[in-house]
Amino acid sequence: MKYLLMLYADEKAGAAIAPEQMAGFMDQMAAYQQTLEKADAFVDTAALQMTDTARTISAPDGQLHVHDGPYADTREQFGGYFIIEAPDMNEAIRLAALCPAASWGKIEIRPYHPGYGPG
C-alpha cells in the first residue's frame, strides 16, 4: 500500500540555519532516501518552495478568490513529501520515524483513498 508522508517544519527556523549545518541535514535526508530504497519502500519525494511563494484560490460563489500564502497559517508549514510503499500503517509509522524530518518537525502519514492512489 502506498502512503503519503507530509513533512511539516518551521520554515523560518529552517531559513535561519547556517549553510554548513543545512548541508549536514540534507545529507541525512539523502541517507534516509537510501534507507527507503534498500527497504523497497521508496516511491517518490519532492521539496516544496517556502510558503511565501504559495497562492491559494477558491471559487465558492462562482467568483475566483486568490490570496497570497498557504491555505492555513500553521506553526509548522508543509515543506515536502515522501511517497512510500508499506504493507500497513504500523510499518509506515516505523519508516516515517526514521526520517530526520521527524526530529525537527512533524510528519503526517496519510493512506490514499482506495482506487484513487498513485499505483
Partner: protein, 411 residues
C-alpha cells in the same frame, strides 16, 4: 391460454414463493410441510388455471389450496382439542389474508432469521435460506458453497426436520443474538445474487438478482445500524451497475478491465458509494464492507482515468486476514499480476494449488489459464483454459476462453 396460465404460475412462483412459504410455515413451524403444501398448490394451479383461467388474485388462490393441504396433514397427525383450536386460528388468518391481496404479511425476514438459528448447523443456515426463501435447488446451492449436490440435498432435509422438531420460533432475534444470525442471512442473500450475476440474458437469473437486491434493501431498512448489511447491499449495487457493460453489442464477454465505463450505471454506483461510506462510519470492517471497498476501488477508474491495482491488492490482504478464503486469494492473484507480474501472482496461489474445492471451480482454472499465458507457460495455460472452458455454463464466457486458448497457439 395454457401458455398464459403457465407463465402466471411461474411468475407467482418466483415472486411469491418465499413470502407464501414463510406465511404458511410461521404458524406450524414446519417448513418442509409448508413446502409440500405449497408444491401441491402449484401443481393444482397448473392443472386448473389453463381451463378455468388465471384467478384475479393468484396468491390468495394458492394459499387457499395450500391451507387445505396443511390442515388435512395436521388433522391426520393430531386428534386432541388443542390441535383443532390451532387449526381454527390458522384457517381464520389465512382466510383474512386471502381476501385482501396485499395483506399477506412478509414474514420472509423472520423465516430467514429462523433458518439462521443457533440450533441449525452453521454451514446449513445460508443454504436453508436459499432453498426456502428463494426457491433455489439443492444443485445450485451446492455449487455456490462448493459442496457435492447429494450431500447438500441430505443436509437440507435434516435441517428442515430440525426446525420442526425443535419448534424453532420465527422471530427477528434480540440485538445480542443478531450478529451471528445476520451473517448467515447476508451470506444467503449474496449467494443468491452471485448466482443471478453469473447467468446473463436469462430472465429468471436476472429476477433472482433483483430479488436478492430487494431482500438486501429489506435487511438494511430493518437493521439500519448494521454496517455489514449496508456493505453487502453496496457490493451488490456495484456489481449491478456494471451489468450492461459485461457484454458488448455482439453479446461477447467483456472482462472488467476492458469494460466501457460509459455503460456503468452511475446512479447505482453513487448509491453504493453512499452505503459504503455509511457502513465504514458505523462499525468494524467486515467481509462485505471490504469486498464493497474493492469494488469501489475498481470503479474509481471512471473518475481517475486509470485502474488502481495497488489498493485492490491491499484490500484483498485485509480480506484474507478476515476470511482465509481461497476465492479471495484467487482474486488477489489476478490483481497482483498487475502490480508484480504473473509469476508472482502464480506463486501466491501455491497454498491452494492442491485444494479440492478448486478442482471444479471455473474461475480457478480461468485465472490460472490467463496467468500462465502471461507468464509464457503455454502448456499449463492450455490445460487450464481447457478445464475452464469445460466448466463454463455461459456461452459468451466459453467463446472468450476458446479465443484466449487459440491465441496461445498463435503467439
Amino acid at each position: 391460454m395454457t401458455e398464459a396460465a403457465r407463465r402466471a404460475a411461474e411468475r407467482v412462483a418466483r415472486d411469491s414463493y418465499g413470502r407464501l412459504l414463510a406465511f404458511l410455515a410461521a404458524r406450524t413451524r414446519d417448513v418442509a410441510g409448508a413446502e409440500d403444501a405449497l408444491a401441491e398448490a402449484f401443481a393444482s394451479a397448473l392443472k386448473s388455471w389453463p381451463e378455468q383461467g388465471v384467478p384475479a388474485n393468484p396468491d390468495a388462490w394458492l394459499l387457499t389450496v395450500a391451507r387445505r393441504r396443511q390442515t388435512d396433514a395436521i388433522r391426520r397427525r393430531q386428534t386432541s382439542k388443542a390441535g383443532e383450536a390451532h387449526i381454527q386460528l390458522m384457517t381464520e388468518e389465512l382466510e383474512a389474508a386471502g381476501t385482501q391481496p396485499d395483506a399477506i404479511p412478509d414474514r420472509r425476514l423472520a423465516l430467514m432469521f429462523a433458518c439462521a438459528h443457533p440450533d441449525i448447523e452453521a454451514g446449513m443456515r445460508a443454504p436453508l435460506i436459499l432453498q426456502t426463501i428463494l426457491g433455489l435447488t439443492a444443485i445450485d446451492i451446492a455449487a455456490a458453497f462448493l459442496i457435492p449436490p447429494a450431500t447438500m440435498g441430505q443436509r437440507l432435509v435434516r435441517a428442515k426436520a430440525r426446525i420442526k422438531d425443535a419448534a424453532i420460533p420465527f422471530d427477528i432475534p434480540e440485538r445480542e443474538d443478531l450478529a451471528d444470525r445476520l451473517h448467515a442471512v447476508l451470506d444467503a442473500i449474496y449467494a443468491a445474487y452471485a448466482k443471478g450475476w453469473t447467468e446473463i440474458g436469462d430472465a429468471a437469473a436476472e429476477r433472482l438478482a433483483d430479488e436478492a437486491i430487494w431482500l438486501g434493501r429489506l435487511v438494511v431498512s430493518l437493521l439500519p445500524d448494521e454496517p455489514e448489511a449496508k456493505g453487502m447491499l453496496a457490493l451488490m449495487l456495484y456489481a449491478e451497475a456494471r451489468r450492461t457493460a459485461r457484454r458488448d453489442s455482439d453479446g461477447a464477454y467483456v472482462p472488467l478491465e476492458a469494460q466501457d465505463i460509459n455503460l456503468w450505471d452511475e446512479e447505482q454506483i453513487m448509491a453504493a458509494e453512499a452505503l459504503l461510506r455509511e457502513a465504514n462510519a458505523g462499525g468494524p470492517t467486515g467481509r462485505y464492507q471490504i469486498e464493497a471497498a474493492i469494488q469501489s476501488a475498481h470503479v474509481a477508474r471512471r473518475v481517475t482515468g486509470r485502474p488502481n491495482w495497488d489498493s485492490v491488492v491491499a484490500l484483498y490482504d485485509v480480506l484474507l486476514g478476515l476470511t482465509h478464503s481461497p476465492v479471495a486469494l484467487l482474486n488477489r492473484a489476478a490483481a497482483l499480476a498487475e502490480t508484480e507480474g504473473p509469476d508472482a501472482a502464480l506463486a501466491s496461489l501455491e497454498p491452494i494449488a492442491g485444494d479440492r474445492r478448486m478442482a471444479g471451480y471455473q474461475p480457478w482454472w480461468a485465472t490460472r489459464g490467463h496467468l500462465c499465458a502471461r507468464a509464457g507457460r503455454k502448456e499449463e495455460a492450455f490445460e487450464a483454459l481447457t478445464l475452464a472452458i469445460g466448466l463454463s455454463t455461459d456461452e459468451a464466457v466459453r467463446h472468450y476462453l476458446i479465443a484466449q486458448r487459440t491465441k496461445l497457439q498463435d503467439g
